[in-house]
Homo-oligomer: 281 residues x 2
């Protein structure tokens, strides 16, 4: 880390007090390397992440109920899928609990908005990944008025209580908001419309949503202001450069895992005695 | 494929008529390359697998309900976890539905043995992975007499009906049984007992199970003989060489995916019209 970062990613990217309107989505906070260096580090640090994650998994198998939960938010094309593929893709799939939250199903709509979220929480020892999350219920729901204002207004406090409970129960939350510029989004949507192997990622609604950009910026600002807490801080990641966003999230996860100060679990058996028994078996 | 394989892996490894007693667990059926070549191919073919899986995922997102389900069976240390890590680890985690089946929970025990299996089936477009499966109910359950003989005897037909139903509903089953020799297993258990970072993978019961080796061989022979079907064949993978087993499973999955003859989904919109709309948005 030390050589290429001016400070830990968790400090460089922490959102406290940040104004989204002032954000440079092409910036690379904290990182002093260039793109080739960033891409090389991504492979190298992916291996480090996999090593840390294996320790979490090993402890989980030994009864440790702690977990790490990456919450990914961002506008269409901000790169959530790429983070899952390239960052989470570097760790053992056995240790990953991945959930993507789309438009709620009929069943989900009949429950409290946190119902489907609770059902998808990572087990102990797992690295959970939420591709979108309960924050959709104060983002799209707010922007499009899917529920009355008094309902979504009340959700910020509900979310904070929920996340406090998770933190108290041993889940380290890593909440990441990815931001691209309106121009960068246009370029990425254009690519999806120009390549037959990318059509499936596009939906005409993605263009309509661009008309709500300022309302989304406001809704994102509100989640940073109202749900950025000590026990579950927000990290804002400028994401015009995909390699930077992926590297930054890799570092955030490494830091979160190292913060648990995990060791390999102690054996619950006598290795020397078992070795002797094995030789006879 | 053609250059390094004498025949497709699905033909070289198909279990029909195979006697486990005659199996050379250090063999490399169908493959004519050496270890360095095998390891290099593993990376290269992992990329091919990821490309095929992405097409399955894309079609799933577009409403195609087909899926591929890898069923992994094998004795302790046979390398199931390594397959998940290194083979499944090469594809996008978003497209993977992974489930590991251990000793049934109290709730699971109160249900039919296929209950927990059905709950974990892959969604359309997903690559499902079962690390152990319903076959435990005719392996460990048979070897240790966990249920009366008439119960486990009846399960073979139940399993065949279940798998026929899956196949009819668009799930391509890739059933893989990994086999290592008793000596190779000893070496792998020894390693787990000599490295503190591997202790967590060891359980004293693993040594006890070695005493049941012949009974397990018999139980495995029975599943090959009684549940190897046209719609859900078994593949037997000699697994003393980890690189070979991983490469072989990679090829089996590539062949299964290619068998679906997937194309990129056709757009449900007019790309040219959307492009014009995008430029104005």
């Amino acid at each position: 880390m030390a050589e290429y970062w001016n400070e830990p990613a968790s400090r460089a990217l922490r959102a406290d007090g940040l104004r989204i309107a002032d954000l440079d989505t092409s910036a690379r906070p904290g990182f002093r390397g260039d793109k080739p260096m960033g891409k090389r580090l991504l492979t190298e640090r992916g291996r480090v992440l996999a090593g840390e994650q294996e320790k979490l998994y090993a402890n989980g198998r030994s009864g440790d109920r702690r977990s790490v939960l990456l919450v990914l938010q961002g506008m269409d094309t901000a790169g959530k899928g790429g983070i899952v593929r390239h960052v989470i893709g570097s760790v053992d799939p056995q240790g990953v609990d991945h959930a993507a939250f789309g438009v709620p199903t009929e069943e989900e709509k009949q429950h409290h908005f946190l119902w489907r979220i609770r059902r998808a929480l990572p087990r102990g020892g797992q690295l959970g990944v939420f591709d979108r999350s309960h924050y959709e219920d104060v983002l799209v729901a707010r922007v499009h008025g899917l529920v009355p204002e008094e309902v979504w207004q009340g959700r910020y406090a509900e979310i904070n209580r929920f996340e406090q409970e998770l933190a108290d129960n041993g889940t380290t939350l890593v909440k990441v908001a990815l931001f691209v510029s309106l121009d960068e989004q246009k370029a990425r949507l254009r690519q999806r419309l120009q390549r037959p192997d990318k059509y499936w990622k596009f939906s005409p609604g993605d263009i309509d949503e661009r008309g709500y950009w300022p309302a989304y910026q406001e809704a994102y600002q509100a989640i940073l202001d109202r749900t950025g807490t000590d026990y579950a801080p927000w990290y804002v990641v400028p994401a015009d450069a995909k390699w930077y966003a992926r590297l930054a999230v890799t570092e955030l996860l490494i830091e979160a895992l190292r913060g648990l100060e995990l060791n390999w679990p102690a054996p619950t058996f006598d290795p020397a005695a078992e070795l002797r028994r094995l030789e006879r078996a």
